[in-house]
Symmetry: C2
Subunit: 377 residues, 2 copies
């Protein structure tokens, strides 16, 4: 029964002169529609809608898209729009994308989904993209090189018009615009959004220096983390200027691919076993700093009384940890937004895009740093 219904409608419609009858028939189809609203088999297409209206799909499309310069009487326009509402017509973005060669979709590459740093950037990206009417695929690769290589291709196959890569070691140019957050490699067609690491290093080191710290331990990031190298080089340069000594035996290196504080715990434990004196620690990031503080506490060292700790990033947990973390804030949400903004500009054909966009860090002083105390001096 039901399947034949549209056929009837179609017949009447095609008849031409009996357009008025059609109005009556459409009453029936309303009943059918009631059912559709509850359990629609197929979404209504432009063709179905056109058949129902006794028009051709093209005309319906013109009306619904408000294409200018087409003469279509107001009455028809309203009839079309009413029908679209009634059938809850939703144009297939797939079909439209195929035709217009625009998908309003981008791909986001990210190492992990459940991590403080990455998700803060993601949220900036998401905010801007959604606001501009774009959707995005996210793909997480856990730093696996084959996935880093494969996913961009897949994303492009799905119509991504651009790609944002967060903390991802891209190897080569892609056929679409790319913006890399925390990317440092210079690749043609890739815009890097980075922190001003030089400034960041100054903020951290000056702060500790002013508090009287002279024996500072340093934690380097994992080799696969995009920022590790730059951050370290900046620290080395600034330390030299400030005449702060970087002692190899007080330099520890993160290795594990973790996004929990467990990351920083064991390396600090090892550092402590060396029994070298240090009054401050600059951590690679906040997550590791939290693990470091736990390791210090487990060794009966108080933060900041015995050891001051500076974190990096200012993730949400930083402010509420105990002790709360002094840290170098990266404006992660803003960086995500900027990345998205730049990408969309490039997608929209903006040619004079920047190769690099450096954002300023900020020193957030909280409880985990203090002047060198008598106890540790």
């Amino acid at each position: 029964m039901q399947p034949s219904q549209p056929g009837v409608i179609l017949k009447a419609a095609k008849g031409g002169p009996d357009a008025s009858r059609l109005g009556a028939k459409s009453g029936d189809s309303m009943v059918q529609n009631k059912k559709d609203q509850k359990r629609s088999d197929k979404p209504v297409s432009l063709k179905i809608l056109a058949d129902y209206l006794g028009l051709c799909p093209a005309t319906v499309s013109l009306v619904l898209n408000n294409v200018p310069g087409r003469s279509i009487p107001q009455e028809t326009r309203e009839r079309v729009r009413a029908a679209a509402r009634k059938f809850n017509y939703q144009p297939s973005l797939l079909a439209r994308s195929l035709r217009k060669q625009r998908t309003f979709t981008v791909g986001v590459l990210v190492p992990e989904l459940s991590d403080g740093y990455h998700t803060m950037v993601m949220s900036g990206i998401g905010d801007h993209l959604m606001q501009e009417g774009y959707f995005y695929f996210s793909a997480h690769h856990r730093h696996k090189p084959d996935l880093v290589e494969e996913y961009p291709r897949l994303l492009m196959g799905r119509g991504a018009e651009g790609i944002i890569a967060i903390d991802t070691a891209l190897e080569h140019e892609l056929a679409v615009p790319v913006v890399a957050v925390a990317g440092h490699k210079k690749i043609s067609g890739v815009t890097n959004v980075v922190l001003d690491h030089r400034h960041a290093a100054e903020l951290a080191l000056r702060h500790l220096h002013q508090l009287g710290h002279r024996h500072i331990a340093f934690m380097r990031g994992q080799p696969f983390s995009s920022d590790s190298d730059h951050r370290w080089r900046s620290i080395v340069a600034v330390a030299r200027e400030l005449n702060i000594e970087i002692r190899p035996e007080l330099t520890i290196q993160l290795e594990k691919d973790l996004t929990s504080p467990e990351l920083g715990y064991p390396v600090v434990q090892q550092l402590l076993q060396l029994k070298r004196r240090f009054t401050a620690l600059i951590s690679f990031n906040d997550i590791a700093a939290i693990g470091a503080i736990r390791a210090l506490r487990d060794a009966n060292l108080l933060v900041p009384d015995d050891v001051s700790v500076v974190g990096f990033d200012d993730i949400k947990a930083a402010a509420y940890h105990n002790p709360s973390l002094t840290t170098i804030r990266q404006p992660l949400h803003d960086m995500g937004q900027s990345a998205a903004r730049i990408l969309l500009q490039r997608i929209q054909g903006f040619k004079d895009y920047p190769k690099e966009c450096a954002v300023p860090p900020e020193l957030i002083i909280r409880e985990s740093t203090a002047p060198v105390s008598g106890r540790s001096r």
Copy 2:
């Protein structure tokens, strides 16, 4: 040299009158392709590939998809595959989806992107979906009703074959399969993945009861949070069984839409101003618990010495907070994976899907709870 090779083959293959010319041309186009690899204007389509090979697109498609039951000589097959590799052919998922009416794409609705709870669920979802070859759109709505209403439609317009809604107040049935994580409303076509809140309440209350706590403060979740109601009702029920009194003046209510510990801070401050005696607090979640602990500490109360605190969720920060949190773990990653698994089964036509999937909580005892001390007793 090498680039012209396929041209030669083409000549032989085509057999047509002008095939040789064509072959020569295709040699040129290989050179052009070298450029394309660096800066491709358009990705190569099946048609381009077919023209190059002197075949029709259909045949190329048949080869690349290994369609069985088609007689195509091995030699041709290899020729096709070689060309595909050479041109780095990537089929347009868009076009394929349109034709096959399968997109291998789902939509994920989530309140926030940068939150511990949601992202842990997301990571489970992402793991399973990617593993199964699906991609997903994520859309965040910040609990705004109009977006909760609109996004599912947009996602379906983009071809989402199913939708996973995390902590999202869906109002009605959709035309595609839906799985709701932490959904409690019974909606036709929606599978709810929920924690066994009854069991969770037992674990939390028994634990505190066994530690000797009798004056327990309770924190209720925000009205818009899907779990709030169920969790509270379970607590009330279990408290009655255990003869634990729930005093209105010791019951606080979260209101703000935050995902930072700031969430729990002010409400606990207010509670403290009432100067009512309590020795334990059951928090709505870990994030709020961290804020609560901060508020207690700021009031010179020690956790767990003066007040024991039980969290909920076991987000990553829980284990590394100071003091580390005793909490009711939700297997968030697993819940995400289950949600994805169930959704894919339903998409693949599995009819006998469960209406609800309850997962067991786990009590994780850490530092934030302790027996009632002399000091607080």
